[in-house]
């Protein structure tokens, strides 16, 4: 079987499994839904950390920003946002299905664009920072956002915002969001897969390998960094908007800018699967999610201790990840040549 047919088979298999899963395992649908969120997280983080070598600890910022932007748009279309949040849920939204869907689509679009705008604005700040300062700075951005939103009355401060409920049967709503996240994750996968094949992909890899050399060769590093960060933000903004609606309720520290629940695991998933590879983040996300759900089930109460340990072990002892490990072991499978086809190269040309 040729490689392309094998790839086609792989994609087909995953597609079919993903399409039937919510119907076959419908009691696990919420876990399956969040799985796609995790996959999207890992893919978007890897664009920055894995492919460009900028290890952000604050990408969750765009997820939260998208969530809040979308919520404000959706509520703001029909109510006064400040009044609505001040009522702490006493005002019940009453949307027709059409209003709901229009609001969701519009909110998601504005969220995606708003996140991109924030990314561009922030890039002036964060990309002057390198190495560990970049990681600390981005972490600071995410934490600061959580704290500021938590003190901002207009968006409900610490008590958050309730969002409209999906119109229709609850099961339909669950499937609706399952497929929404599925599509978002798949789109981001194929988008970045395409991107890594272009000049752009090569340039960000060059920045990862030796930024100083890339600059010395005239590459506009700042432009590439800003664009990559914005692309991550774009997909995270969409994801955040959807997640707010899926969760019905949003709040700054535990849902939107949830550094411990989502922000750091983004990184860990990409590392676990193998950063800087196409499939690594996807594999890592699936693995992490399965482990997480299992610890939830079997170590209830101790789940976060277990996950903290998983982070430490992954980072310290298994940083090359599954794909990185496989690449070391079977480089030929990944198109990396280690042997020389002929030793005569220099001699004859010299």
């Amino acid at each position: 079987m040729s490689t392309s047919r094998r790839t086609l088979g792989l994609y087909g298999g995953i597609a079919i499994a993903s399409l039937v899963a919510p119907f076959v395992f419908d009691s696990y649908i919420s876990q399956l839904t969040v799985l796609w969120v995790m996959v999207l997280f890992a893919i978007t983080w890897d664009a920055m950390g894995g492919q460009m070598g900028y290890n952000s600890l604050g990408n969750i910022f765009f997820f939260g920003a998208g969530m809040y932007i979308s919520a404000v748009v959706q509520i703001g279309l029909h109510y006064d946002v400040a009044e609505y949040t001040a009522a702490y849920g006493a005002i019940k939204v009453d949307f027709t299905p059409a209003q709901y869907h229009v609001g969701l689509v519009l909110g998601t679009i504005v969220a995606a664009l708003g996140s991109v705008a924030l990314a561009v604005a922030l890039s002036w700040v964060v990309f002057g920072l390198r190495g560990p300062y970049f990681a600390i700075g981005t972490l600071g951005v995410a934490l600061a956002a959580g704290e500021l939103v938590g003190a901002w009355e207009y968006v409900g401060a610490g008590s958050g915002i309730s969002l409209p409920v999906f119109p229709g049967e609850p099961e339909v709503g669950e499937r609706f969001f399952y497929f929404a996240f599925f599509i978002a994750a798949v789109l981001s996968f194929f988008f970045f897969r395409w991107l890594y094949g272009t000049r752009f992909g090569l340039a960000i890899n060059a920045i990862r390998d030796d930024e100083e050399k890339a600059e010395a060769m005239g590459i506009r590093t700042m432009r590439y960094k800003t664009i990559t960060w914005s692309l991550s933000a774009f997909f995270l903004g969409i994801c955040g908007s959807l997640f707010g609606n899926y969760n019905i309720f949003i709040e700054p520290l535990e849902v939107a800018f949830a550094t411990v629940v989502f922000g750091i695991p983004m990184v860990v998933m990409a590392l676990l699967g193998g950063k800087g590879t196409l499939w690594g983040p996807v594999i890592g996300a699936v693995l992490y999610h399965v482990i997480k759900e299992a610890t939830w089930k079997y170590f209830l109460g101790w789940q976060w201790v277990a996950l903290g340990l998983l982070i430490v072990v992954t980072v310290v002892f298994f940083q090359q990840g599954i794909m990185g490990w496989a690449q070391d072991k079977w480089p030929e499978l990944f198109g990396i040549e280690v042997e020389e086809d002929s030793a005569e190269g220099d001699r004859e040309a010299a």
Binding site: G140, V141, A151, G158, W304, L307, V315
Partner: protein, 300 residues
């Protein structure tokens, strides 16, 4: 919100109170920040579990106070010793494998440790805010400014401890070995210094310093399992603002941070206090960047 700042003009005495409180808390921040600078400078490890060590120290004081029913001041030596041992354990289990790796690894690994510590504390003590009462009273300063005796005592203890550590680093054999290793680990190794032991000791010393700082925090402020991250960020703010190996800078930045936080918390409301700390982190990073951007080269 603005009216609070107005109050500061109307009642100048409030300024003195805020400033004094800020300086006294800042003195304790300086301890943890000094520990971070030590570990960062000697081992090139950025310890994001710094604040969680502080909170652990606080809970040790809380246990001494609540369970043993004695004055939490007794927890000072206990916390120092227990945290020293804890630091040694963590070094052997985790940190030792992180040294010499890229800096991101140490950040993430210590963040993972921080999560584990927070969650264990949460399981043991629950999520409530706690404090340990030293039983000391309050004095009036200048006849009008209330000053808690424990705060003054804490500042004095922090000062004494800092002095002890500095003298130790200057005069003891281990202190000299630590400084030699910080300068050039390879050379130190060739000269027969057991760098692995030096690292273990440095990390443990840092944990002990944090533990003592935590005891003081628990007596003059509050502790809670998840407050560690705030203290970690304070340490980073201070060290980034001061620069590594700049002890006077660390002390000044720490006192400044303490005062700023008090003012900010009073002016904007305490719900903004955390935001102020994180905001300051971003601010010092940006300032550092602007100072460097004056060069043609972007310095690491």
């Amino acid at each position: 919100m603005l009216s609070n700042f107005q109050l500061l003009f109307d009642f100048p005495v409030l300024n003195i109170e805020l400033l004094l409180n800020g300086l006294m808390i800042g003195g304790i921040f300086a301890l943890a920040a000094y520990g971070l600078a030590l570990v960062w400078g000697v081992m090139n490890v950025k310890n994001l579990a710094q604040g969680d060590f502080v909170i652990m120290g606080g809970y040790i004081a809380f246990v001494v106070y609540k369970e043993l029913g004695i004055n939490p001041l007794w927890a000072l030596p206990v916390a120092g010793i227990v945290m020293f041992g804890f630091g040694w354990l963590l070094y052997g289990l985790v940190i030792r494998w992180v040294i010499g790796r890229d800096l991101f690894t140490s950040l993430l690994a210590t963040f993972g440790m921080a999560i584990v510590i927070q969650q264990l504390l949460n399981l043991i003590f629950g999520p409530d805010v706690q404090t340990a009462d030293s039983g000391l009273g309050t004095q009036l300063f200048l006849d009008s400014v209330p000053v808690q005796e424990i705060r003054v005592l804490s500042l004095a203890i922090a000062g004494i401890l800092a002095l002890m550590v500095i003298l130790f680093m200057k005069n003891s054999r281990m202190g000299q070995a630590i400084r030699a290793t910080a300068q050039d680990p390879r050379a130190a190794k060739i000269m027969g210094i057991d760098t692995d032991r030096v690292y273990a000791f440095t990390y443990s010393l840092n944990a002990a310093i944090c533990g003592v700082a935590g005891v003081l925090i628990s007596m003059i402020w509050v502790i809670q399992p998840f407050y560690g991250i705030g203290h970690s960020i304070r340490s980073f703010v201070i060290v980034v603002a001061a620069g590594l190996g700049n002890l006077p800078g660390v002390i000044i930045s720490a006192l400044g941070l303490g005062a700023l936080e008090q003012y900010g918390g009073f002016g904007f409301g305490t719900e903004f206090q955390q935001a102020i700390v994180v905001g300051l982190l971003i601010l010092v990073l940006i300032v550092r960047q602007i100072m460097q951007a004056r060069h043609r080269q972007v310095v690491q």
